[in-house]
């Protein structure tokens, strides 16, 4: 068992500042994850040069990989920090912020563009109001449930966006996750009433044709969401929609 845990963090004091590396050593304790390690660091934020510094800034929420808050790059791989168990990581553990989003400070980035994209693709089911209308939505088969539930687990964490070569500062591509959500809502018995609206939102600039089929997204998704299925189906559906628009409008 090692005595210490060595940490190397890519820090940045504010959005327009230069990034810099800082290294830390913490006493070993079994069953640390990267978040609990950063939490321990806060109690005594001293770097390996012996300087007492401001503790590393990061985002955290549930600590059990259901909220998507703590996404960062750990030893070169984008993932949630809470489920990155230190005992399974090579040292020094290298922490970097996601590169596809603006750094706020240290490991905390601004993922607002992902949420804005959900507005763009009409990622909801339209209901008349939050009051009871005394009937359920139409029935859904257990087989359809299994398919849909998979997409409903998307926690807007950013892993798929990080690994997507088409999602970057030079492109307006919405990225894989919003496309998965558009697919989910168009599969709902009443959500599908607005399928055309969702498809249209993905037929313009930054839409489905920006996908280059790298298929990195489905590899990186911590919830194994079948993103490439959704992308393929939306791609086909947008073609059909285009034909409909041409001949039926």
């Amino acid at each position: 068992m090692p005595d210490v845990i060595r940490l190397k963090v890519k820090r940045q004091d504010q959005p327009d500042a230069k990034p810099y590396w800082e290294e830390f050593e913490l006493p070993y304790r079994p069953q640390h994850n990267v978040i609990s390690l950063l939490m321990a660091l806060r109690e005594k934020p001293v770097n390996i040069k012996g300087e007492r510094v401001a503790p590393v800034v990061y985002e955290v929420g549930c600590m059990e990989e259901v909220c998507g808050a703590c996404t960062m790059i750990i030893n070169g791989q984008v993932r949630q920090a809470c489920s990155a168990l230190v005992d399974q990581l090579e040292q020094p553990i290298v922490l970097e912020p996601m590169s596809k989003f603006q750094v706020i400070r240290d490991l905390m980035v601004n993922r607002q563009p992902m949420f804005d994209a959900l507005r763009q693709v009409h990622a909801w089911v339209d209901i008349d109001g939050g009051y009871d209308i005394h009937v359920h939505a139409p029935r859904i088969s257990p087989q359809a449930w299994e398919h849909n539930y998979n997409f409903a687990r998307c926690m807007t964490c950013g892993c798929c966006m990080e690994v997507c070569p088409q999602y970057n500062s030079k492109s307006k591509f919405v990225g894989p996750a919003p496309i998965g959500q558009a697919w989910l809502f168009s599969n709902h018995p009443t959500g599908k009433y607005y399928k055309a609206a969702r498809l249209h939102s993905l037929m313009g600039v930054g839409g489905i044709t920006d996908c280059g089929n790298a298929q990195n997204c489905i590899e990186a998704c911590p919830k194994d969401i079948k993103l490439t299925d959704a992308i393929a189906k939306i791609s086909r559906d947008t073609t059909i929609q285009m034909v409909k628009d041409l001949f039926l409008s």
């Binding site: 004091d13 504010q14 304790r29 640390h32 994850n33 939490m39 806060r42 109690e43 007492r52 401001a54 503790p55 800034v57 985002e59 929420g61 549930c62 600590m63 059990e64 990989e65 259901v66 909220c67 998507g68 808050a69 489920s83 168990l85 706020i104 400070r105 905390m108 993922r111 607002q112 949420f115 959900l118 507005r119 990622a123 909801w124 089911v125 209901i127 109001g129 939050g130 009051y131 009871d132 209308i133 005394h134 009937v135 359920h136 939505a137 029935r139 859904i140 257990p142 359809a144 449930w145 849909n148 539930y149 409903a152 687990r153 926690m155 807007t156 989910l184 709902h188 009443t190 959500g191």
Partner: protein, 629 residues
Amino acid sequence: MAIKKPQIIVIGGGLGGLWATIRIAEAGNHVKLFSLFQVKRSHSACAQGGINACLDTKGQKDSTWQHFVDTIKGGAYLANQPPVLSMCEDAPGLIRTFDRMGVTWSRTPEGIMDLRLFGGVKNKRTCFAGATTGQQLLYACDEQVRKHEEAGLVEKFEWWEFLGIIMDGQGRCRGITAINLHTMETRVFKADAVVVATGGLGLIYGKSTNSTNSTGAAASRVYQQGAKFMNGEFIQFHPTGMPGDDKNRLMSEAARGEGGRIWVPKQKGDTRDPLTIPEGERWYFLEEWYPAYGNTVPRDVASRALYKVCKELGMGIGGGDLVYLDLTHLDSKFLRSRLGGIMEIYEKFAGSDPTQIPMMIYPAVHYSMGGLWVDFEKDPETNALKQPSPRNHQCSIPGLFSCGECDGTYHGANRLGANSLLSASYSGRVVGESVAAYVKGLTDSVENVPEEIFSKEKNRQDGINQDILAGKGDENPYILHRELGELMRDKVSIIRSNEGLDAALDGLQELKARFQNINLDDTRGWTNLPLTYTRQVHDMIILAEVIAKGARLRDECRGSHWKPEFEMSIPEGKFPGDPEFEEYRAKWKANNETWLKTTVAEHSESGPQISYEKVDTSMLPVEQPRDYR
């Protein structure tokens, strides 16, 4: 004349806050929605097992009345009955609305919503989406709010922290101050009504099943400004939490509802691999002690049982504080489909597959039954809530409202599993309608309140921040927080004593004093986490005093609050009709004459001032002691 364009603020974007936002927006009002982070990441996402509603689709002749009885009894009769009655009666309609929103409910073979069994009840009335129900319900509300955002009715202030309310000369809530967590700017936001929906307070205990943002700080702040707090001493320990240094991750009650069994080896200190221990050498103690409910006894009963087995009898696994939660006898495909979410969590963090090896668990701090005191208006004809009414879910400060885990309305002394997703969503919908009714009745807008009232409060908040930033002492807020958690887990736990609670109150005084000596390692003016964290720690200590004081003064055992020195146990082997049981029942009723009352805490500089209020028990007479044998 009613004011035009009322300004409404909702603080907190979990199920309670989002439901309030939806109903307020649907009434045509503009809402400013505040959250520490993007609302989709709220702690509601962690809820796993399900949400209760009487749909009666399992041929059990279930009824909303039975749901009401189970809830009131589960809460040891401490909850006011009218709101609970309304919640149970309106639950099926709420579920239908979630269904229309597209929640991916698990389905039966004929395509309708499935129901599972949960703790403390005999009928299946828990609707679920795999084992990630809270996540799916939260996401449905998040999606609906996004729709309203797109329509211009909701403006989000994510990455803003609520610091305090602002009250006018008549003591009415007229707005808030908040700090931007990135720019560190404090700003005043005027409002005609404010809803606090900031969830639970597990972080007061350091380790819990809660997310890192469930500090109770916002509730503490309005309490310090004069809002009453109720039943603080009732803290739920969930029996099946994973041990952990950073968090006690929850293993849903659904695991037991679906057939999971709790056991320890009959042989004390047995260190054999559990799979090699034969049936006859396993002690299924919940099944033995409570034949009627077995593994699905209510949480307070289960947690005390696990505590007794481990701490009093020393029969935990290997002599430690752990017992087995065994799912290995169940079909693994069934488990993956019904409980997939928790299987994943256990595998990731404990490193073993629960379908093959029994899980190891122990009780963990989980939920606060108490919370901000809120009013309700009873309909004298139905004995349920009069809806809508501006009184429903209004705090003791006019114009301030609360919902969700943040208020203390529905669960009495102990909460039934799957009733929290219900109460959070339901109370959010109720308060949304109350606020809409309240602002319709207002005749003077916040715009008429003098500016000095707002600037004075902003200056006060800036002053607090500056004092903390200038601190030159030697205390680290993270260390103080860790010590707070250790103190609370040790002395205000599952089993309590007056001696221990006195020590807790002394310990809290000490922490408060040390707090004056803070030195921040970060004095930057950009995304300064230690500054806001320090304020949260202070406010957690204040709320911890409310919990400990209420516990110290309540000399009885009720629900999750247990002092063995005042225990009255059901005579063993005796049942209703037996003279010994009837003698017990008489003692139990006499105790209720003294203690069946709501604890109300009010802030003062010398600590929480405790008083009591009558409980409305008009629908279900308090006749049947809780008996799960």
